[in-house]
Amino acid sequence: MKYEFYVVDAFTTNRFGGNPAGVVIIPHDATMSEATMQSIANEVNLPMTSFVQAADSNTFTLLWFNPTAKATFCGHATLAAAHILLTNSTEITLLSPIGELEAKRTSKGITLKFASNPPHRLEPSAQQQSIANEFLGQMPNPPSTQFFYEPTTNDLFILLDSIDDSEFARLSFPSAPENMAGLVGRMESLGIRGVVFVAQSQQANRDSISRVFNVRDKLVVEDQVTGSAHTVIAPLFYEIFGKSAIHAHQCSQRQGQLYLELVGDQVYISGNAVLAIQGNISV
């Protein structure tokens, strides 16, 4: 059986920038087992692969798989799927594991509507503090920090009070390769999906800057652009800085641009996407 297959770079206008995602289209009259979806996601080894199937003309079911597991929530692979599906219609509904998501073409590229996920403030444990120190200890004068946790994403958010954008982008995590095993151990013992470092940008054309790290295969890896984390950054920036429209920049190697708008308990996340590879996959 042959399926349409695409690789799309999400939250960027640059080919090979942003965060890549696979998109597999399942014909409406076909079925694909989740085991096969997992095998495909492992085969293509992209950070995430979306599997979509038409339910009616403007409604599609959507599932996300990373190379080793089914995912509960992924923003960039949703944008990638919408980029492929929105060639025929201007507005679609995606039935996803986190509920109905709306996607439409707008002046900012594609706009996705998500539930807002406000984080809870935390008094950091020694272990959470040491994770922050691993990142910020590389600076001569580390900024002060505030800690938050958000259960839907299961991410730890560390808000830095002031940091230069380019210095923030240069920091490595862990700070040295020999600290990798210890850091993986601490992140695993906290039971979190990832750590998000976030700050106000000091550049005029950006509001937020962020870096996002997850554990994969016993290694801490950087997530290049993370839609889901920005459903938390939007309400966080509203609460702390009173901003409801945010130009968000994720300062990973491939870099990503997201535009956030908080409206009540919804976050509209907009961004561009670029088709990198198109073809088909034989199973």
């Binding site: 297959f5 095993a181 590879i277 034989s282």
Partner: protein
């Protein structure tokens, strides 16, 4: 923008989702791709190797159908590499089965020298120079490396290092094929020890049951947590096991999660490695 064909091939595999993935990009002689773009596309593909293939003889419209000599370059998501067996097998498979090239033999000019691939009963057969490993005397670095793979170090372990590729082979005669398959290594904990000994790859190996021997291959130094099926590792493993089993013909299984099967035939200086391959993704990329 120019459109190129791109394939994902499972090598040393007879069904999809097994063996080792390779990306194959046929690059026409009149449309070269800059090195920087080759790196970026390999990073995008994010599989162990993406290879770029360009005809050298018989240039022109029908060059991929007619040529028998090609340049072949291999890129991991982070670096260009000097030798990659599975992507060579994959490239030959694409020539023979997707691009309509009926030659019986392909010669590939690579950073690691000339590689020859022939059509064979098992699929395709590659000839590689041997990289005969020699025993190392145990020291703190090698003990740490052994521990990171097996979870322990023991005097019964046989450790040999190959002089060319610097692949470290670790064999504990007390461990079965199932034990090798069940290993849960943390090789990233021994990164520094490996660097001090200039080790590129660590291989855990044991006697097989249906096969002659089994192995697992780990290369965090070149960005590979575990390689599912590795041609180059068998240029070291074939002479390692030849000494122990007094044989020159083997069926070898790489017992990674995806698994891979290789047939080996050894002479004094070379090993011929045969395997089959399956095309999974066919597509195009505009560069």
């Amino acid at each position: 923008m120019t459109k190129y064909q791109i394939f994902t091939v499972d090598a040393f595999a007879s069904e999809p989702f097994t063996g080792n993935q390779a990306g194959i990009v046929p690059v026409p002689s009149w449309q070269p791709i800059p090195d920087e773009t080759m790196h970026k596309l390999a990073a995008e593909m994010n599989i162990s190797e993406t290879a770029y293939l360009t005809p050298v003889d018989h240039l022109g419209e029908q060059e991929f159908q007619q040529a028998s000599r090609f340049t072949l370059r291999w890129f991991t998501p982070t670096v260009e590499v000097r030798l990659c067996g599975h992507a060579t097998l994959a490239a030959a498979h694409i020539l023979a089965h997707e691009l309509g090239n009926h030659n019986e033999e392909f010669r590939f000019d690579t950073l690691g020298g000339v590689l020859v691939v022939r059509k064979s009963a098992e699929g395709l057969e590659m000839t590689f120079p041997l990289d005969i490993p020699a025993p190392v005397s145990a020291n703190d670095n090698f003990e740490l490396l052994a521990k990171s793979v097996f979870g322990y170090y023991s005097d019964s372990m046989e450790m040999e290092l190959s002089p060319g590729l610097r692949y470290l082979v670790i064999h504990d005669p007390h461990r079965s094929a199932q034990d090798i398959a069940a290993l849960q290594p943390r090789v990233s904990e021994a990164l520094e020890a490996g660097r001090r000994e200039r080790v590129e790859i660590v291989i855990a190996t044991g006697r097989g049951e249906q096969e002659d021997f089994v192995s697992r291959v780990f290369g965090p130094w070149c960005g590979i947590t575990e390689d599912p099926a590795t041609g180059s590792a068998h240029t070291v493993l074939a002479p390692f096991w030849s000494k122990r089993l007094q044989k020159s013909q083997f069926v070898a299984k790489q017992c990674s999660k995806r698994g891979g099967v290789l047939s080996l035939q050894l002479d004094k200086e070379h090993v011929r490695i045969s395997g089959s391959a399956v095309v999974v993704v066919k597509g195009s990329v505009e560069l």
